[in-house]
Symmetry: C2
Subunit: 426 residues, 2 copies
């Protein structure tokens, strides 16, 4: 008995890929015009270039510069179907994925759903903090910052709460966001708001661990700390956020910071799908896979990228949740599935770390390549070049380049429009 | 007794300007660093370049290209205050404007609030039709069109309803929107949706009057009609829309068109503010003013632009609701207020019509200058040039230019992202 499906039947084996992030699109490209029917499912009709979300939030770029229509990437692919749908659950027994657009059966299911925010059980904080994982998150954050500036001018407004900005998490996202906010405050906003004394506003970066950019060397960590402090960011280390009621941020050591805006980049977890066996779900939401990205105990379900927990020699606690891991796993898994039906002949995955980088502001970045550590202007140029090249699409590269040039030479950020005012769901 | 106000007190006379459209920003510029305290109030923190909204809706441009932060326009102005607020009512007796941010008293009040949609009492239509007056409208329309395309692929979907597009109103907005939708369907969408047979989808432009572009000559009207029909738009004349339940559009002659999307550009009315005396309110929502843009019977309230109804020799039924009228009235009113306290010495307003134009698609437009009528490629170049020059800000001009060039040579539209899915409020 066959069930009705959201894509046409085919004599080919069907691969269903969940998620159009870096892993998902690499996989689809790998299967271009091969002997499979390939179905990509994503809740959005676009791929998000997450590393630049913070620039959308801080007014440097518009969403269309960093998001790219998935259908456009795969124009002309044979036996390929994209469906914009929310995945509800997977039935591993009957090999069916349920979505809000209807069910779809699979021969192979590849989960590339990435990660979601981890608030570590702090519900009040979760309801009030601003995450930065999606385009909508970035636009909401932008609106909130601008709305609070406007509101601070009202008679009797609590200026301190409205103007302070707290960033939680000293990883690349937190560092880049804090730096961009600081540039906004130092160079852009004073021209727009002569009534506000920006010397009295605080931008605070809070990190639970002992240093910034934990994944990089002490050299880069120190450079980033120094650069942020020079710009005027207050960096608080060894001090995790404990509570946030929407008006003040409470830290572990008892410090209380009046602020309506807490940007959350202090934790992510795997975004698993209902129906995945409990036995393979890790505490951090990742799904345990073997060296072939196969879910333990399954032969037709694979997981790649942020969602996958794979123990490798140098990475006993799993790989970092970054784009290169997802893309390399997609390459390896795609090659395995295409090469041979006999899984005993497959190649195990091995991660090649090509480096890490973070930008802090104008002419300031840190970059670590396998045999070279850079900081300052050169690292910043390299950061821009690599991000421009990694963007999908010629027009996006051109528009981002134009925006960066205009922003650089004008000391300005173009985008400070409150298109959709943000209001808390509470 | 003075009341608390949303701006600081000043010994200068205070001019409150409601609305940051073409009229409002022209006025503020006119009063730059003069002996007045100038307060601009708008519900948005940006100026919208309305003539290009249809390109945002049809995926050719992003909002930041056609919207411009109001604060940025007026950087460095002395005694100038911008307040993002919704005006609730005006008390002409005590000379106070109430806003959701607080009250503000005025010496002179200038209403430049523009126009809003006129659905002529058709409530069901109003609830279901998609207007095109604001950036949010444009984004909602874009999302709806794309969502319906995705939904048409679901098993059992009503393809006809989901894919047909109806535009109501054959003025410049309706003509330009229908043309842009047709280009999207003919050149862009088939590459994204090989599963959809776009030959079967209809784009219909419905006009109540006997011809398109009623404000222009028969020559231009005929050219526009021919160009649209050649592209594949069905144009229905002498046939006003009577009803729309969200699933089918009913016309006056009984024609029924299955369609979920009805774009409303068939009527606008003045967006008057509660508190304006009933006696000066026209049936179309405009406010009766004398030749000095002064509200009849008032000495300190003025109205300019779409909201103003002024009877002039050549315009006994009021001026057309277009940007040049608003800007010229702002110029004249500003000059009068600056020149002399004695209103008997003021110069009456006289409208200089510099022409009209509308674009239909690639290389196709009509333009009428005082002594010249153009159509085709030259008119199209002129249209682009004038719109680029009228945009506010160097960056916006550059980004729009880059987008237009990429769109032109690639036969593509960059922007087909569903950032915020649209759902009807019903």
């Amino acid at each position: 008995m066959s069930i009705s499906s959201i894509v046409p039947d085919s004599p080919l084996k069907r691969i269903v890929i969940a998620g159009g992030g870096f892993g998902g699109i690499t996989l689809v490209k790998k299967f271009r015009n091969k002997n499979f029917q390939v179905v990509l499912i994503d809740r959005n009709n676009y791929h998000t270039f997450q590393p630049l979300l913070y620039q959308v939030a801080t007014g440097g770029l518009e969403p269309d510069s960093i998001a790219y229509p998935l259908r456009k990437i795969f124009q002309g692919y044979k036996n390929f179907y994209f469906r914009m749908a929310e995945i509800q659950r997977v039935d591993t027994h009957s090999k069916v994925v349920e979505t809000d657009a209807g069910p779809i059966s699979y021969d192979y299911l590849i989960l590339a759903c990435g990660s979601t925010n981890n608030f570590f059980g702090m519900d009040e904080l979760a309801a009030n903090a601003m995450p930065l994982k999606s385009v909508t998150d970035a636009l909401d954050l932008r609106s909130l910052i601008l709305q609070n500036l406007e509101q601070s001018l009202e008679p009797g407004a609590n200026k301190e709460e409205l103007l302070n900005l707290v960033v939680a998490g000293g990883g690349p996202t937190g560092v880049e966001t804090a730096g961009a906010l600081c540039e906004l405050r130092n160079h852009v906003l004073p021209n727009d708001y002569p009534e506000i004394n920006f010397m009295q506003t605080r931008i605070i970066l809070v990190e639970a661990g002992k240093g910034l950019l934990a994944g990089m060397s002490d050299f880069s960590s120190g450079k980033a700390l120094h650069a942020l402090q020079t710009m005027g960011v207050e960096v608080m280390l060894n001090n995790p956020v404990k509570q946030f009621d929407g008006k003040k941020v409470m830290l572990a050591d008892g410090t209380s910071i009046p602020a309506r805006t807490l940007i959350w980049s202090a934790g992510v977890k795997g975004a698993a799908i209902p129906g995945i066996p409990e036995a393979v779900l890790m505490r951090n939401g990742r799904v345990k896979v073997d060296r072939f990205n196969r879910v333990e105990g399954e032969t037709s379900i694979f997981v790649i990228g942020d969602l996958a927990f794979m123990s490798e020699e140098n990475y006993p606690n799993g790989h970092p949740m970054v784009a290169p891991v997802a893309m390399q796993q997609a390459e390896n898994l795609g090659a395995n599935l295409l090469s041979n039906n006999d899984a005993t002949l497959w190649k195990p995955f091995k991660y090649t770390n090509k480096g890490a980088m973070a930008t802090i502001g104008r002419n300031k970045a840190v970059a670590e390549l396998p045999f070279l550590k850079l900081s300052g202007f050169l690292a910043w140029l390299l950061w821009m070049f690599i991000h421009l090249m990694t963007l999908v699409g010629f027009r996006n590269r051109l528009v981002v380049f134009v925006n960066w040039m205009v922003n650089y030479f004008s000391y300005d950020r173009a985008v400070r429009l409150i298109i959709r005012p943000f209001s808390r769901k509470m």
